[in-house]
């Protein structure tokens, strides 16, 4: 099932003495949708360009189904790229753009015509074959770029932030369409983005990168619900970090943690714990429960901000010790007028089992975690 197609081994790359990638290992499975996610400068685009062959690694190797590609020129790699700003040839028609790669393969004319038409039909641009790129909208140019790359039937399609130039609505449409294409073609997609929402909604697996190091590799659900370290937790979605310390370990299964003076019992984390050890209790805003001020449970606080978001009510609550808590609550059918006053006293709690524990790192400048 999960057969490795593209294998990257201890890849390193420096530019002007600055390390961009540092001995990176990554196995990409056949037929998967893999996303490289990270802030700008994390090395994700460089990684993609190494796979495409536009850059050469200082060290390490790239193999595709057992064939070494490390020093192969880009034109001889069975991978194709969809570029950030599409890079359509301005002097060629849509048809000629899509046909370019097949002409390079010296395919017979009839086969080229047929395959180009198929590719254009796939992205619903059959009627635009005679146009020049500048006569197309951004979304249409995007489709041509995709058709031009997939018409070559590559083993892997590399997509370098392909949706970043589109507006929000079009981006959502293209996300669905890309996902559909990937399913239909069965090609492996390697997708680069800095948009965590896009990464979570489209991918089979997500690689979170920072400073040229893999922070976490996992399914979207793993990355969101069980972040490997503080960086991933902060970068992917919004998170509350509550300071706590281990009160006592209860055998192999659970530990009791002191958070804001509350003694809560949690599942024992993967990392070793000892009594009195400080740690972070992570809770997503939607895991927070806001209770009435006279409730017996929770920590007292005050609502300092409220934002109506349509389907949710997002609020910021200040606890007595100054900690800011983000809470996101769905509207209750029984109480459509549900709202807070600013300054309203409340109590903050959560359902045990929804939290996630992480050890202290070199705070406040959290260092890259050693391993997931």
């Amino acid at each position: 099932m999960n057969q490795t197609l593209l294998s990257l081994r201890s890849l390193s790359k420096q530019f002007d003495g600055k390390s961009i990638l540092d001995s990176l290992d990554l196995d990409i499975y056949d037929g998967e949708f893999l996303t490289l996610l990270g802030p700008s400068g994390c090395g994700k685009t460089t990684l993609l360009r190494l796979m495409a062959g536009f850059e050469h690694p200082d060290a390490g190797s790239i193999t595709l189904a057992g064939q070494d590609l490390t020093h192969t020129a880009p034109e001889h790699r069975p991978l194709n790229t969809v570029f950030q700003n599409y890079a359509l040839f301005p002097h060629m028609t849509v048809f000629d753009n899509v046909a370019y790669g097949l002409k390079m393969e010296k395919r017979p004319k009839e086969e080229i015509r047929q395959r180009v038409e198929e590719a254009l039909a796939m992205v619903q641009l059959e009627d635009f074959a005679g146009r020049k790129p500048h006569q197309l909208s951004g979304g249409q140019q995007q489709r041509v770029a995709i058709a031009r790359a997939v018409v070559k039937r590559p083993k892997v399609l590399l997509l370098d932030e392909p949706l970043s130039a589109l507006d929000y609505k079009l981006r959502r449409t293209m996300q669905v369409e890309l996902k559909r294409l990937q399913r239909e073609l069965g090609i492996t997609f390697v997708f680069v983005t800095h948009d965590q929402e896009e990464a979570l909604s489209m991918s089979d697996r997500v690689v979170v990168l920072k400073d040229g190091l893999i922070q976490q590799l996992g399914t979207p659900r793993e990355v969101y619900e069980r972040p490997a370290n503080l960086f991933t937790a902060r970068f992917v979605g919004e998170t509350n970090f509550f300071p706590g310390h281990v009160d006592r370990a209860n055998g192999d299964e659970t530990i009791t943690v002191d958070v804001f003076g509350l003694k809560r019992t949690f599942r024992k984390p993967d990392f070793p714990v000892s009594e009195g050890q400080p740690l972070h209790v992570l809770l997503r805003p939607e895991d927070i429960r806001v209770l009435a001020p006279d409730d017996a449970d929770g920590v007292p606080g005050k609502v300092v901000e409220r934002n109506y978001k349509g389907s949710t009510l997002d609020s910021v609550i200040h606890l007595a010790d100054g900690t800011e808590v983000l809470a996101s609550e769905f509207f209750d059918e029984d109480d459509p007028a549900f709202d807070y006053r600013l300054g309203e006293p409340v109590r903050v709690s959560w359902v045990d089992g929804w939290e996630w524990l992480l050890p202290q790192e070199g705070e406040p400048e959290q260092e890259a975690a050693t391993d997931a």
């Binding site: 536009f54 880009p74 034109e75 790229t81 890079a87 040839f89 390079m104």
Partner: protein, 256 residues
């Protein structure tokens, strides 16, 4: 503000710009000897022009010089623009600055410096010295034209071509050159016209072995009036007009 004032003003200035040219064209068909009064329609000055063998030779010389100067400066200028655009190298700023200075310096400064050089190295003044000088003053204009095109050029296009299976050579042939072609043509036409029109630099670096048209005209118009010049001027005007329309058409067609 009302519209008629600026428009009238524009029309007036254009009128002043074009009256001398119109006079020239009309008088080229004038039969009169004196050159001031109208003496009826005639093509005699055109005939006189083509009967003048030295004049015809100067025309051919000029044409050949302009062709070669435009071609050489387009070649070197395009390569320079590519180098400035694609490579990082030491002294890039200096190179840029030198080209800018060449473009801005008064022609006469360039002219005497080249004359000094040619005499110092013992070069005979003639076609070669003219060619070197003309290429030098055309060069910055070609570089600027091509650079402007390249600056709007997507860095990813060559990579896209390579990605789709084109070798470096095929990429240059199928993508790079077609994309900058309009700028190459425009640069070439500009160089051609600059060379054909040049008086100042040519006055210094030409020799008796290679007489060119502007210098021949110069010696004719310094004293008195020569009606043949009207005919010659009209021909040159038509010629430049064709070239200019051609270059504008190329630029407009390629703008996207």
């Amino acid at each position: 503000m009302s519209h008629w004032l600026p428009r009238t003003y524009l029309a007036l200035v254009y009128l002043l710009l074009y009256v001398p040219i119109a006079v020239l064209v009309v008088f080229s068909f004038n039969d009169s000897r004196t050159g001031y009064e109208w003496g009826g329609l005639s093509l005699r000055w055109y005939e006189a022009l083509f009967d003048n063998r030295a004049m015809v030779r100067a025309m051919w010389n000029s044409l050949w010089l302009a062709l070669s100067a435009a071609t050489v400066s387009t070649l070197i200028g395009a390569l320079t623009a590519l180098a400035l655009h694609r490579y990082r190298f030491r002294g890039k700023q200096i190179l840029n600055g030198m080209l800018f200075v060449v473009m801005m310096s008064p022609e006469i400064v360039l002219a005497i410096s080249l004359l000094a050089l040619f005499l110092l190295v013992g070069m005979q003044l003639g076609y070669v010295s003219l060619l070197l000088a003309h290429v030098t003053f055309c060069l910055p204009f070609v570089v600027i034209t091509v650079m402007a095109r390249l600056s709007g050029f997507d860095e990813r296009l060559p990579e896209a071509a390579r990605d789709l299976g084109a070798s470096d050579f095929v990429m240059t042939r199928t993508v790079l050159i077609p994309v900058i072609m309009p700028a190459l043509l425009a640069g070439w036409l500009l160089g051609f016209t600059l060379s054909l029109d040049d008086v100042v630099v040519s006055t210094f670096v030409s020799g008796p072995t290679y007489e060119i048209l502007p210098l021949r005209i110069y010696s004719m118009v310094r004293v008195g009036l020569k009606p043949e010049v009207n005919a010659l001027g009209t021909l040159l005007l038509v010629f430049s007009l064709v070239m200019l329309i051609l270059s504008q058409w190329i630029l407009l067609r390629s703008r996207r």
